[in-house]
Amino acid sequence: MEGFLGAIRGIAQESGFNGLFEDPRYLIMICVACVLLYLAIVKQFEPLLLLPIAFGMLLANLPGAGIIHMEYFLTESGHPDFMQVLNNGGLADMLYLGVKLGIYPPLIFLGIGTMTDFSPLISNPASLLLGAAAQLGIFFTYWGAKMLGFTGAEAGSIGIIGGADGPTAIFVTTKLAPHLLGAIAVAAYSYMALVPIIQPPIMRALTTHKERSIVMTQLRPVSKTEKVIFPIMCTILISLILPTAAPLVGMLMLGNLMKESGVVDRICKTAGNELMNIITIFLGLSVGCTTSGDTFLTWQTVKIIGLGLVAFSFGTSGGVMLGKLMCVLTKGKVNPLIGAAGVSAVPMAARVAQKVGQKENPQNFLLMHAMGPNVAGVIGSAVAAGILINMLG
């Protein structure tokens, strides 16, 4: 009898409930995870990534589960302790290697490339300037983060939230400030889902009714040859100027080339569907597992969430302001609303520009015009990421 009670007592002491009482932060994190699951499932906030992130957060904060060992990755030398990972690591440790080694984000970009149509950009190359202007949010937020006391590398990781690109944010953060990965990933994906709420008031505040009603002329048709040459030319040009941007830009353009060439349909479908889905699960789950109570429940996280909103707002403003300038320079041929689509949230930001424009003029179809800056923003945020890694890494 005593042996039986002793065994029960031992199991109770080892149980997670004991851990919850010892450190209430676990309980708070479990509640946060449940809120994020609610947002992902019920409100459908970027569910493809927020759901695995939230569930990873839940798993990582169940005391005693030991699903991930961040101490193997956040060493004093800055390099992961691979021997510990291989000998003692669990599922999430192995999956996290893909994040730590910068493998998952480029593979997600490969899938994104197979789903991206660059024709609106090729037919109106000035969209690239709008994509560039929208990256102002990154650098303004970097400045704000420095003012709030973050280090340069941390500020760069926070600033990249303004690129509105999840894989890019994760790629930069794992290289510059891996200890902030959880908070930045949650902020980035939550704000990407809030683009339809954040952008319209800023777009309306910065433009007049007349500007919003501008109807743009139809885009010229783009030949298949142009669409095939574009990704090759982009990769060569950007990678030669900025080698640190090569993994992201290169994989984006490889995916696009696979799609536009039309000769590798099978692997193109795999990259855009099965591979991307697998990587999304691995990435989301492993990133979620990095969010432990001691790293997430801090004032730093609150600041990151606040700065994330600043990043999105200034990115939208930057794009719209350059759109207004282009409107003036072209004597009213460019609708400034498409500048807001320069943030990299494809195709959500383009849809927002379409909706806001249609409210002013129901006959106005801005979607394809806004897709140009939208996909330019993907390139722009990858370039900005390369610059930040180069200067702050």
């Binding site: 000035a126 990256q135 010229r220 200067m391």
Partner: protein, 142 residues
Amino acid sequence: MEPSKWIVILTGITLVFAILVLLTLVIKLQGKIFTGIDRKKATEAAASKAQPASSSPVANVAPAGAAAAVEPELVAAIAGATYANASPAGVPGEIVAAITAAVAAVSEGPFEILSITKNKQKKVAGRSAWSRAAVRAYTEPF
């Protein structure tokens, strides 16, 4: 040593704009080259079609050298066809416009819609006209 924040901001913004401006210029140049090639091909195609088609009743052929005007003529032809054939034989105007646009998309030169009528043919071997066309398309190689 970590660079100052102003160096990072200035360098970052300058480089992002510089790279994307360079990309803009290269794409514009590419666009000009390919538009020129396409225009040249369209002129040559229109010129070679102008000779055998000169005695056809459908005489709405673009003259040689007017390749730049082909597209506006197509647009005008579509608009003209739509208005002229509004609701012919009970076919709604929107259907006429959609059919005209489809013909314009596959046509290699100027065209004229002579008539659009509803196919009242009943199903053959249990298949509608669309279904029969699909079967033909899928079984052609065999």
